[in-house]
Symmetry: C2
Subunit: 296 residues, 2 copies
């Protein structure tokens, strides 16, 4: 299994996910931008806009290579080396506040010195948390993880709680999901088995998300619910610009800005010192933007 | 001159600026929130909303003290010490795309070990750059600086160009202004003279901004111009969350989040791969979001 095999599989995943999302939306089609990176490699950015269901979303593939950025070398205390990185990154912002925002990333990184690892994550950001959706989402991720190792789901769920956390707000970004990084070969797992796991996570995106979108896409909503969505999107922007390591790495290493920041919503709002009504659905949501909730 | 004298003067500046902005707006009044910091000190946050002219803005005073955060100690290679910090921070987002966003900050920092300095800055972010406004704004700042030292304006203007820069976009945040930090006593300047300069900068806010607001507040605008404003506000959010050191410092040291992030606009937008029409006013603006433009 070469790095090209891995990149090819990611490319095919992008195609399948775009088709599935177009099928859900039934109106908008993905636009397509193929770009080259001056330092080596490039990508394929696919964006869906002004849809029936999806207001703005991106499903991005990239495979880039060149000199390993100093930020990575310093963090890992490694000597100068070239690198190859490939992955698929997704963020989808629906029109309706009743339909959650979703994010997924699956990635592979290797260096000329033989160091390599897989990483990934998938997390859901409902504007209104619905207990049954959260249970379904986490159960679907758990089922995928459990096929490989019973420790994966609890470990990677905790990792997601810690990663998708807006520290200054003391809020999680949403109901979490799974997050993992630096998956290397070990006594238990060969490189092939690591790849099989990452593939399984990638293939979980469509069934996990489409079920939840279909449950809610026909629901009506009020202007007040739309306003709450814009505020929650503001928090999403805060997470992505202040904490998200992928965004930071991309901006620091002169990645393609339009592909990196396609994760930001068409419209977001910040108001001063907002509060929620007691016993409202907004309050229920805020109370559940916490780590360590056992949704399953 | 004690730190309390400096804080008192900043507090009085906040009052004068709020009155002047209410006078321009002629409708909205500032709300007032007095808060305490668990580690010591506190502040007075004043927010104006839903005005005739101003959609959302804050004029914040704070005077905080306690143990110096490790981030500062490490950056300056200093031993553990207590600190006192006071200042006024302003960001104003007008309704109209014809009226620029403005920011000002004046601040004083001292430590128990005798280290102290003044800092500050004022910069303008027009949604549409107007050459005459930019000339007036920079000339006003230059006049203030020139009363103290002919090198201040050129040096602090360059510092602002470098500071208010959205690196990943290769754009300045607006037309800049002045920025300075770590102003200590020197052969040329006593502490009293430094303070006089900072006071003069603080007093420049109202004449510099009110003239420009009054020039444009009655102009009409189109939905397309409003949309351009929302996109430019998105860039403002990018600068504040990704690069602004005051924001970063505040969030890292558990500052009052609602006071720090009052700098973010009520509404902002991100679209994928936007472009501007040739020879449009939007294109003129983009072409002038550059460092090293001599506006005077």
């Amino acid at each position: 299994m070469t790095k090209e095999n891995i990149a090819d599989w990611f490319r095919s995943l992008q195609d399948r996910i775009c088709l599935a999302l177009e099928d859900i939306d039934r109106e908008a089609k993905f636009e397509s931008d193929i770009w080259e990176r001056p330092g080596g490699g490039g990508g394929h950015t696919r964006v869906i806009r002004n849809g029936n269901v999806f207001e703005k979303g991106g499903v991005n593939f990239s495979a880039v290579w060149g000199d390993t950025p100093d930020t990575i070398l310093n963090a890992l205390k490694l000597e100068k080396s070239d690198f190859f990185a490939t992955g698929v990154s997704i963020v989808i912002h629906p029109n309706s506040p009743k339909v959650p925002i979703i994010h997924m990333n699956v990635r592979y990184f290797e260096m000329g010195n033989g160091v390599w690892w897989f990483g990934g994550g998938i997390d859901l950001t409902p504007i209104y948390i619905v207990r049954n959706d959260a249970r379904f989402f986490h159960q679907t991720l758990k089922n995928t993880c459990d096929k490989f190792n019973p420790e994966f789901y609890p470990n990677f769920k905790t990792w997601a709680d810690d990663y998708f956390y807006i520290r200054h707000r003391k809020e999680t970004r949403g109901i979490g999901g799974i997050f993992f990084d630096h998956l290397k070969a070990s006594e238990l797992f060969t490189k092939e088995q690591r790849f099989e796991f990452v593939k399984a996570v990638g293939e979980t995106f469509v069934p996990a998300y489409s079920e939840i979108v279909n449950r809610h896409k026909h629901e009506s909503f009020t202007p007040e619910e739309k306003q709450w969505q814009l505020l929650r999107r503001g928090r999403y922007v805060e997470f992505n610009l202040v904490y998200d390591k992928g965004t930071k790495f991309g901006l620091d290493t002169d990645g393609r800005v339009e592909s990196i920041l396609m994760s930001l919503p068409l419209l977001a709002s910040w108001d001063y010192n907002t509060s929620v009504k007691p016993d409202s659905e907004e309050e229920f949501t805020l109370q559940n933007l916490k780590k360590e909730i056992d949704w399953v």
